[in-house]
Symmetry: C2
Subunit: 533 residues, 2 copies
């Protein structure tokens, strides 16, 4: 093993070779992942800056297998220094948080630069990034590569650009891709994104030039997600030790109360007493043994659950409105559960059910899964959200399913999980792990929305049965009227044929009027009564 064989590899080179780790497994998934990363970025940037998002997405086919993606937003824009690194270097960004957490779409500062990396690998073309902040007089377009060997931006040109926007960012990347129009298409991703981001206005132009508009449904930004200090029960020993070395706190007690969520003076004292450590010691001077004792003491100390006001749910009302704006429905119901906690991380489940209207009467109900307002389009089978839907006995809620399978009927089910750290089953962020606490919340939310669905479906079925009866009655009315007319005619035997017909019509009308009144007033007739008439 000679020295010359060994070398340091840049993180860009690593992910270029291992791009399946980031969702660039194949051309159709790569195109979808690119749209996802760009749109996620735009939404996060707008919300961070308290701007109602307006996003335009375009996918243009350049030739078979080659596409250009353009995503433009009205976000705050980025200044030059930050822009170059944010787009031209992997693992640079505002989003990576090794400690604590905050609900966000992206978490790693890796997504959009991975798109640029993939584009240049498959086409050799640089990306074009245009940006303007509200402090700048004009927009600037950066033509740039990522230098794979150094993981640094390589800016080829940066010219002033005439741009109508006062602030915002525009990303243009060419790449190899494959355009599909299945359940895993960019169109589906954008449509579903619109459903769970009703405060966003999104326009999408597909490769055939067709423009799809997803208007803003609510004019209010969602509650802003708050940055959270780490909860002591979620911090592993190695990290705990590093925090003690890096803290700006001057005493061990203030290290505990300042640097952690839910640790007040009383809790800090309990931890210190259990660990037999003096609160005044400078954290940097704590020995390994002392740190260990403290870390063990945290496990046995009763500490309040993490704060949950850091989450930014969609909200039941907005979710229902949005679902109705995307689908032509007869009925919808949305539920936003209260936040709760798994393994030290706060999370919250929301469920909406839409029914009838344009939805397919036959076949499986649609299921749309979301995590932190991002649609999940892959690995449906292994996701806790899917498992939650399948675990329900849908007969009790107006649909049907055989045990352990999806319900059938004209329904769309939306499930959203918001968390500071969604437990994905893998790096591709496509499916949520099946934690008991999460499964329970999903079940409760579905059942709550399901009860409303059931009462709607029951009413509808009753109304349907009555309408059927009415139609049946109408069908008999002519015959009944004729018979009655003939009975009357018996008395004046020589009645003319024309008069008989007239009488029949008159009697029929009167019968129908009676029937209408009867049904409108809600009086019920069972089948036998009806047939007796």
């Amino acid at each position: 093993m000679a020295d010359e064989n060994h070398k340091q590899v840049s993180v860009a080179e690593f992910f270029e070779k291992n791009r399946h780790l980031l969702g660039f497994n194949n051309p159709s998934k790569a195109l979808l992942t690119s749209v996802k990363e760009a749109v996620d970025n735009s939404l996060d940037a707008c919300e961070d800056a308290n701007i109602l998002p307006e996003i335009e997405v375009k996918i243009q086919e350049l030739k078979k297998g080659k596409y250009r993606m353009i995503v433009e937003d009205n976000g705050p824009g980025l200044n030059r220094k930050v822009l170059e690194k944010a787009f031209g270097s992997l693992l640079f960004g505002s989003k990576f948080r090794s400690i604590g957490g905050k609900q966000g779409r992206g978490q790693q500062g890796i997504g959009i630069s991975a798109v640029i990396l993939y584009g240049q690998l498959t086409t050799g073309k640089p990306a074009k990034i245009t940006s303007r902040t509200s402090n700048e007089k004009e927009a600037r377009e950066y033509v740039m590569h990522i230098d794979v060997k150094t993981n640094e931006p390589d800016v080829l040109a940066s010219d002033v650009k005439n741009w109508k926007k006062e602030h915002g960012t525009r990303v243009e990347v060419e790449m190899e891709g494959k355009y599909v129009s299945t359940k895993q298409s960019p169109y589906e991703f954008i449509k579903q994104t619109a459903v769970v981001n009703p405060h966003a206005k999104i326009t999408y132009t597909d490769p055939e030039g067709k423009k799809h508009k997803f208007p803003r449904v609510v004019d209010k930004l969602p509650r802003k997600a708050k940055e959270l200090k780490p909860h002591p029960s979620g911090v592993e020993y190695g990290l705990f030790k590093r925090m003690a070395k890096d803290t700006s706190a001057r005493s061990t007690k203030s290290f505990l109360t300042n640097d952690f969520d839910k640790v007040g003076g009383g809790t800090a004292n309990t931890i210190l007493e259990t660990a037999k450590v003096e609160g005044q010691i400078m954290p940097k001077l704590l020995s390994d043994d002392q740190l260990h004792e403290m870390h063990e003491a945290i496990k046995t100390t009763k500490i309040m659950n993490p704060s949950t006001d850091c989450l930014s749910p969609i909200g039941a009302e907005a979710l229902a409105k949005s679902l109705e704006s995307e689908y032509d429905l007869e009925f919808s119901k949305a539920i936003s559960r209260n936040p709760t906690v798994y393994r030290g991380f706060p999370f919250q489940v929301e469920v909406a059910i839409g029914y009838g209207g344009e939805l397919d009467q036959e076949g499986s109900a649609k299921l749309n899964r979301f995590s932190n307002k991002v649609p999940l389009l892959y690995e449906e089978g292994s996701c806790a959200l899917t498992k939650g839907v399948k675990s329900i006995t849908w007969k009790s809620y107006g649909l049907h399913n055989s045990s352990g399978s999806m319900p059938t009927g004209p329904a769309v089910i939306v499930i959203h999980i918001a968390s500071t750290w969604v437990p994905f089953t893998s790096e591709s962020k496509a499916a949520v792990s099946n934690y008991p606490a999460i499964s329970k919340e999903i079940k409760l939310a579905i059942q709550e929305a399901g009860r409303s669905l059931q009462s709607y479906v029951r009413k509808k079925r009753k109304a349907g049965l009555e309408e059927e009866k009415r139609q049946k009655f109408k069908g008999y009315a002519t015959e009944v009227a004729g018979a009655v007319a003939k009975l009357i005619a018996k008395d004046s035997y020589k009645i003319k044929k024309a008069e008989l017909e007239k009488s029949t019509t008159k009697i029929e009308k009167s019968l129908l009027a009676t029937a209408e009144t009867m049904y409108s007033s809600g009086k019920e007739l069972d089948e036998t009564e009806e047939e007796d008439e």
Copy 2:
């Protein structure tokens, strides 16, 4: 989006947070992954240096949930500079190859440093690495951390150590873990590793102190894997462009012939003519358009398949021997297919089937999957190797299965795929993707081994049936003898009872002797013939 929110994150910090990407999802998997990374490293190092591997693995339980892993090899050792980086920095190593490829267990230069990263995160303890090269007079022990913020080694101590080995490396890491003894245990991993690495001697001491020895079965190192130049059809445009910029070739023609596999003068000329590019141009001066034309021309030019002598299979004989040394079997058969190619990458499939002996008569056959001589213990269901086994109609090969499921019966099936780039379904490297070319080879290999199995099982069944007949015959012999004796007795009516018994025994003996002779000479009797006697 203020500047101060943005920061560059080190790759160590990224993988500390995203350690599920590297197989550290949970305590039991983390312990297994650690053993796997260390053993893979040792085997690769020994083979690279032409040393027959001797590896000792120890797992010690320190307290509930805390383990110490020690892996010691007789490899070439590492000098100080390389050692510190190889163990103390992620993405440093001899294994990462962005271009071309070579069959190896590790590929990323990330595994063993990730183990150290995981150990220090969960216990706060440094790793201890001991190493000695054959040039060094004494061994040295390095006590070291990885500095997560910089991804650099942080050596706390490095002392001379009294070590009996003349060369080798010893890794000692403490970590959180969970010891299981299921199909996904360290024991199972080591046992299976021994099966496919018959040239290695491995000793494993489990947490209860029990020593398991896996002796060397063959005394020859496997054919050494060769480093391969990239095959032109597997190089994407962005990489092709970078190769042209970085090449040391002075002309475009020599760039094609020197830097790629299977491109000779003729092939280079065809590519250049199709692309309308002059062969004398310096590669650095090629325009984007010219590079594009060349890359397109490669697609339409007939180029020989990649070299396949770069692969290092186990070999049929070694595989069969090894399987027999691990299991007490009645029968075994191993097949090593010829190398072939998928998507521009060479690969080779080997299959072994063992039957009978200690194997369970009832239930599913055992399936042991391997890629580049590393056991695959997770994600069995989604793996092309498993799918290959399930796609076979096993009735034709002496076992049974219902369509699309695992065969049942006393069998163990070993499948090994060797490749310069095994197409794993995900980063966790647990399952192989279902490429048609790969599935076909797997099927053919199983069928070939299956035919031998079938003929063994058929013979055994026949022998079994005959033994059954013989037993049946023996059962009747006494009665028949008695009847014959009575027939004889009729003639001398007053025969004594004692004499009748004596006659019966005599006749029975004679009948049995006849039967033995009949069966031993291979003469077959069908049931009816037998009953007629």
